[in-house]
């Protein structure tokens, strides 16, 4: 398959993730959508890595995985903290800060 296909697929995944962030309210699902976007990035990296024929993109993708994991950990920690604080797990309800 041509690399183009991979990239277009990754764009599709990227935008899907973005849509998810925009329309979902559960912080957990939003975190998942962020994962989607990072994964789309990873797909692009790996595809490009294949295209240019060096493996830097792959290493980058692995690093991104680690980072994604860190984000997830912190995000889930926050969710737990919010839950513990008896606040609603709905990002729309967290809008004390505004204006």
């Amino acid at each position: 398959m041509n690399i183009e296909w991979y990239i277009v697929l990754s764009s599709l995944l990227f935008t899907t993730g973005a849509v998810g962030i925009l329309i979902r309210r559960s912080p957990m699902v939003i975190l998942l959508c962020l994962e989607l976007m990072l994964n789309a990035g990873n797909l692009a990296l790996v595809a490009f890595s294949r295209m240019v024929g060096n493996q830097q993109g792959q290493v980058f993708a692995i690093v991104v995985m680690v980072i994604a994991a860190c984000e997830v950990v912190v995000g889930l920690g926050l969710i737990v903290a919010i839950f513990r604080r008896k606040l609603p797990l709905n990002v729309d309800d967290l809008r004390e800060l505004r204006g």
């Binding site: 973005a18 990002v91 505004r98 204006g99």
Partner: protein, 669 residues
């Protein structure tokens, strides 16, 4: 001592007097202040005589001196020195000013004695004399303007001397503002002179002018017209005259000195001083002459109906100045100046007499209320009669010689100038009528209440002084004559002053009898040596013919007045009834005040109100507030977008991303 040194002394003394009195207002005793004031002027007069003698001791051609103390303001090509110019004309003016002032100071010494603002009065009065002397002695146009404005200020200060009278302060303001308009005319004239001639000094200006300008060139005409604005404003000529009657709000000696004898004649002096320019711009000179003529007629008619004693005399002053302006504008310089001098004598005298009577009337100036003062105040009455005769140009009096000389000169020039003769004599008739109208209404007859009281008890104290114009109670603790009033009968300084002036009014004309002595003409000759018009002079015969006509008209006028006010006292009332519209037209002073109000004052105030209420609020502030609103509105938008929804933040981020990406896509090949 040279003439210039004397002249500097002349300038210095009144100033010194003014300052000393002003600074010493707490320390100096009243009398001392009056004495200082009078004495300084008196000495100044003597110094003036010193200057006169110096000048007479020189060759006729050398009788002009420029002298300066220090460079006043000199940069960028302008060179203005603090300098004076001494020549026969200025010395003549110095003598008239200081002479009359000395007498009026003397009069004031008595008249103002019970006034709260005695020191202030003398300080102002001295300052005025200083300013007037500065005006006549100035050696360049800038200093002339300075003197010009100083007298304007002194006039303002003295008009509103009783400063808690709103009528007085308003009158002062009016006088000042109109005079400033005149100043502006002078300033512009000076600019134009500087532009064309590159200097402000009299000597070079008058020397260069004939070489630079063609006759009737627009520049020189413009210069003269601008000078005339100044002259008219100061000399209360149409249409700048409205301030003078109102100026009668000031104490009577002020009216006598400033608004009759000296300051208001500054316009005459100015035209005489700049005759070189006026002769180069005959059109402007004719304009001046016609305005003078118009003023003398208009003022004469108004004086016929005025019931306010001082205002009537003030209109008479305007009218007489009209003669002078006319005279110097048509080239009768020495005649005009001669009339200036005699007018100073008799008009000052008339005012003094009027002041004396007004004091007796407790500041009531309405002649309708006055009667029979001939018996009550004999000295005053005689003085008034002398002044009246001179004013009416009764044969032999000073006014007789001076006024008719002007008209004789007009006749001599012939042609268009005959208009001046004809209407001048008409004016003379009016003069005689209105003068004796006053005299016949005030002096003879059964004494009025105040006059009777004076006869009975010699008492002239009145409580509760009221403002004659508005009738409101005076605020007596401010510089306003208290219960004690002073009249010539009981006060020797007043008497002395009036006596001297009465003598001068009657016999002052004898110095210049056509074909006999003509002392004024000869003395002034060096000043007007460069004049083409002054060379032609009516023959002695023509002059005497003029005098004869004048005498007839004067006597006729007096007769008319006698008939109207003594023989048939009911006629004037009948005339008023018959000619009601004309009467009210005259009583309302030809509606000049109203005209100026509608044309200038109201529009200016309307513009001010518009600026203040509308423009400032809606445009200037609107600009500020509008900007504020726009910025604040943008702030509200930003804060509304900052809704607190994290998803909407993400949306904006992605929207921004999409936008940025679009830009980059578009910029790609």
């Amino acid at each position: 001592m040279t003439a210039s040194s004397w002249a500097w002394l002349v300038l210095l003394l009144p100033l010194l007097g003014s300052i000393v009195i002003a600074l010493g207002f707490r320390a100096l005793p009243r009398k001392l202040a009056g004495i200082i004031g009078t004495a300084t002027i008196g000495i100044a007069f003597l110094c003036g005589i010193g200057a006169l003698l110096c000048l007479l001791g020189e060759d006729a051609e050398a009788r002009h001196h420029a002298s300066s103390l220090w460079t006043y303001a000199s940069a960028a090509g302008l060179d203005i020195k603090l300098g004076i110019y001494v020549d026969p004309l200025s010395v003549f003016m110095v003598l008239v000013v200081t002479g009359v002032s000395t007498l009026i100071h003397l009069y004031s010494y008595g008249y103002m004695q019970s006034d709260q603002g005695y020191h202030r009065f003398f300080s102002y009065l001295n300052f005025f004399v200083f300013s007037m002397l500065l005006l006549v002695l100035a050696g360049n146009f800038v200093l002339l303007i300075v003197g010009w404005a100083f007298v304007g200020f002194a006039s303002y200060a003295l008009i509103s001397f009783w400063y808690r009278r709103t009528t007085a302060t308003r009158a002062g303001m009016k006088a000042f503002v109109i005079n400033v308009v005149g100043d502006i005319g002078l300033v512009l004239a000076a600019f134009l002179i500087f532009r064309e001639l590159g200097t402000f000094d009299y000597g070079p200006v008058f020397a260069k002018a004939p070489q630079v300008f063609h006759t009737n060139e627009w520049t020189v005409t413009a210069i003269c017209l601008l000078l005339l604005v100044g002259a008219f404003a100061k000399s209360a000529q149409l249409p700048f005259h409205t301030w003078l009657p109102d100026a009668m709000e000031g104490p009577t000696p002020v009216s006598s000195l400033i608004h009759a004898a000296t300051m208001v004649t500054a316009g005459v002096y100015l035209i005489a001083r700049t005759h070189v320019l006026f002769e180069l711009a005959p059109t402007a000179a004719d304009v001046a002459a016609f305005v003078g003529l118009a003023t003398l007629l208009v003022a004469g008619t108004i004086a016929l109906v005025m019931t306010d004693l001082k205002r009537a005399i003030a209109y008479s002053t305007m009218s007489q100045i009209g003669y002078m302006i006319m005279g110097v504008s048509i080239g009768a310089y020495s005649a005009g100046l001669f009339h200036l001098m005699t007018h100073a004598f008799f008009k000052a005298l008339l005012f003094m007499a009027a002041g004396s009577i007004i004091a007796a009337m407790a500041n009531n100036q309405n002649i309708d209320d006055m009667k029979g003062f001939g018996k009550a105040m004999r000295f005053t009455s005689i003085a008034m009669l002398c002044g009246g005769l001179a004013l009416a140009a009764f044969p032999g009096t000073s006014g007789f010689f001076s006024k008719d000389e002007i008209l004789a000169y007009a006749t001599d020039r012939g042609g268009m100038y005959l208009i001046f003769t004809v209407f001048g004599y008409l004016g003379a008739l009016l003069t005689a009528v209105y003068t004796f109208r006053l005299i016949f209404r005030v002096l003879p007859g059964a004494p009025c209440r105040e006059a009777q009281e004076l006869i009975d008890s010699g008492h002239v104290a009145h409580e509760e002084p009221r403002n004659p114009a508005t009738g409101e109670l005076e605020d007596a603790d401010v510089g306003f004559p208290g219960a004690e009033h002073h009249i010539a009968e009981q006060n020797w300084p007043m008497r002395a002053a009036m006596g001297v002036l009465a003598f001068l009014a009657l016999f002052g004309g004898l110095v210049q009898i056509p074909g006999v002595d003509e002392a004024i003409t000869h003395f002034l000759e060096p000043t007007f040596a460069d004049s083409k018009l002054a060379e032609t002079f009516p023959s002695v015969g023509a002059a005497w013919l003029g005098l004869a006509i004048g005498a007839a008209i004067s006597i006729a006028g007096i007769a008319v007045a006698y008939w109207l006010y003594i023989l048939r006292p009911e006629t004037p009332a009948a005339l008023i009834r018959r000619l009601r519209p004309l009467h009210s037209f005259l009583v309302n002073k030809w509606y000049f005040d109203e005209l100026i109000d509608v044309l200038i004052v109201r529009p200016a105030l309307a513009v001010g109100r518009f600026a203040n209420r509308t423009f400032e609020r809606f445009v200037v502030d609107g600009l500020v507030n509008g900007t504020e609103d726009v910025v604040g509105g943008a702030g509200r938008v930003v804060r509304t977008v900052q809704s607190g929804f994290v998803r909407s933040y993400a949306l904006l981020l992605i929207a921004g991303f999409a936008g940025l990406a679009l830009y980059f896509l578009l910029s790609s090949s």
